[in-house]
Symmetry: C3
Subunit: 311 residues, 3 copies
């Protein structure tokens, strides 16, 4: 995407390549205000009355879809929910026709999840209204990274110089990619850790290691990723017992990190796989807080892209 | 559930064990007011503006789900619809994580249907907001019983001393259990009738019989239950012809009851199985009235649990 | 349907047999006003506040369903979405019970799609509120014809004496039937064209031909129909290469029509089957405009049937 085609405040949220730190800080500040709305008994504001937000999910994901839809409705937007189970081989042309059809119905913003990386970027050219990437293949899941950053700052304050360990199947993780991109932009030092077969050649902004101890040592926070059992069944992952033996986050291993270092997970968790089941319910776990903050972040993103001023 | 954990006006509607007659009467009175709302051209009140009601259906049921969702929207609540087709073997832990995730999104009340009896009761401990049981396994379906009681009182007046016959697969029926509990609380005498293999050892509050004639004789009202064909296929029920021969409610057999005794069915009906098809459309049938009253009852329950005063 | 049972302004939109030209013109005029609403930043009016519109889809169709639901919500109606995948052998009794159940929930208008032709007409007798046919079998799809007529008039002005070619599987097309009915009512001359095996014995109002050249020659507009690949797999259609060779609308063949004759397609398109893929994106294509106008038409139809005056 050429620089000239992008306004200084982006119209889309595809990944963070078009976003600078000031713009990200604006979203995080607005999310703070949205949290105050969410603390009220009546969690509803008229900010997006008359707007229609479409969630377009070419890949199933109930949680993320519901989180966006609820965020939109809490700002009084109408929601059009389009979900389809198309195979990953569906031709780009079909995605285009589907999205152009929705455009004709007068949609004001699109929240798109698709298994084929790149479709969200193409959608940028097909559509005249804001596109929010809700997860595309292995590439990016920017609202997840925003809510993770927001949650980490709530607990740690500034992320400047903080060491954040991300553990699991880094290779196939859009969450790892978006977090590496965003957390380093906010000054953190990201260490990504997993078995050699699940590490990419490089992860921009992050250090890679196969040693869990190295990753967790003195870490200010630890993020476990969801293991896709489907991938394991295809022989792409090590066996479950091997993974657990070497990479499960346990109480004992978490002690390598700084005292009370918070533990994050994007959910849904496989308890006793990526992390010791009881850890998920410990005071160090921010897993539920991440979900709550997801509401505030998605409200902030929708607000900025739909009615926010663009500099 | 210890007495001390339960406020004197319950926060949940799981079954009627925590509810006393006065509390039930309050719901029925409010439902009367809701019926007046439903008789208006504009069937909408602002009572629940800004509240979000989640319907969480781990077992499919379009009718019940739509009835609750419409009831919530008619009071201006937002609705989050979560449906999943999980097997009955799903671990309790997963139900918990799913519900806790929704809780973090700021849900104000939960309408839960689940095939595993007991999950609704566990949810009581997991969640901080009202839980309404929309049917759990064989155990309870309290809003069905409330709408049945409401419908019966519309036609019969007080249920004090009235004989109500419930006919069909009593053993597997949450509708029978909840009705036996509620109708006897309201003073009725309940007789539950079915083939010996489909009767439980006991049904609190009710008399059991295998004789249809005994059950229907002088009955003030008759309720036929839906026969689950799936269960019959597994050999758990008698054959269809055998069932029909002995237990189908026909015009002829209905004459054993009092003149014009109303006929109820929770729906959806298998016409010409549980009852003679034409009977469903006769003036004695309250089947459609039950559906209409379901709206008023569900509005009343949501209203009481969300904004009603607790004594 | 006897004449006496039908008010002079129909309560239903099943097909156009009960509608006269003046009534159709009223819908088209209202749609013009709805387009002005849709051009505003806030595309929402309170016209149907407190009404509940049910979309009842016994046959899947995401586009049509979403178009109606969005139209209803833009007029502030509540929407109840009932979709089920029933086989074409489902008994009429079941349709009736389902619809009567919804009626009891207080639905104000029904948008029904069903694969069994005739169910919509039967629904007329079962329900007391307006029924809109959203496609029934091969018979009728009146809102599609209305949006096509609206789109054609936007481009061509009056349809009086205009030649409109409809090309494809005429035999199985409810779109062709409804368009033939409506466009001839508005003064157009309709020529329906396809392979002999896909032409009906007659199409009221239209001329039939197997010659694409004859159909397209001097045509003022061309409408390509969607080819159902499912039907082709059953041997009911000619092979794809044969169809394309003889009937695909190409740039070259479109030149037989009047200069700049618009090209329509009800969608979703099979690009490079019914029409040359690039034609769909040419200035002659009104495919996207049809979708946009579908919103205005459906808002107009809902408005007239729910709150419009009946003469």
């Amino acid at each position: 995407m050429s620089q000239s085609a992008v306004p200084s405040f982006p119209r889309h949220l595809l990944d963070f390549s078009d976003w600078n730190r000031g713009q990200v800080e604006s979203i995080l500040e607005t999310a703070q205000m949205m949290q105050e709305v969410l603390a009220r008994p009546v969690k509803k504001v008229p900010a997006l009355t008359g707007f229609t937000v479409a969630t377009v999910f070419f890949e199933p994901s109930t949680r993320t879809r519901l989180s966006f839809e609820l965020a939109a409705r809490r700002m009084s937007a109408d929601v059009l929910s389009f979900a389809t189970a198309t195979s990953s081989t569906t031709k780009g042309e079909t995605y285009r026709d589907t999205l152009r059809t929705l455009e004709q119905m007068g949609i004001d913003a699109y929240v798109i999840r698709v298994d084929a990386a790149g479709v969200c970027h193409q959608a940028y050219g097909w559509l005249h209204k804001p596109v929010i990437n809700a997860g595309d293949g292995w590439r990016a899941h920017p609202t997840q990274a925003l809510l993770d950053a927001f949650t980490l700052r709530e607990r740690l304050g500034s992320l400047e110089g903080k060491k954040i360990a991300i553990v699991g199947d880094i290779l196939h993780s859009r969450v790892a990619r978006s977090n590496a991109e965003l957390l380093t932009m906010l000054g953190a030092q990201v260490v990504a850790c997993g078995p050699a077969t699940l590490l990419p050649g490089s992860l921009p902004g992050a250090t890679l290691t196969t040693s869990l101890k190295e990753a967790l040592l003195e870490a200010d926070a630890v993020m476990a990723l969801r293991l896709q059992k489907e991938r394991m069944d295809k022989g792409l992952l090590p066996s479950l017992p091997e993974y657990i033996a070497a990479y499960q986050i346990t109480q004992e291993r978490l002690a390598w990190a700084r005292p009370l270092a918070p533990l994050l997970h994007p959910g849904p968790m496989n308890r006793d796989v990526e992390l010791e089941g009881t850890l998920a319910d410990s005071p160090q776990s921010l897993v539920e807080r991440q979900v709550a903050n997801g509401q505030a972040i998605r409200m902030a993103v929708l607000y900025h892209l739909l009615v926010g001023k663009r500099s």
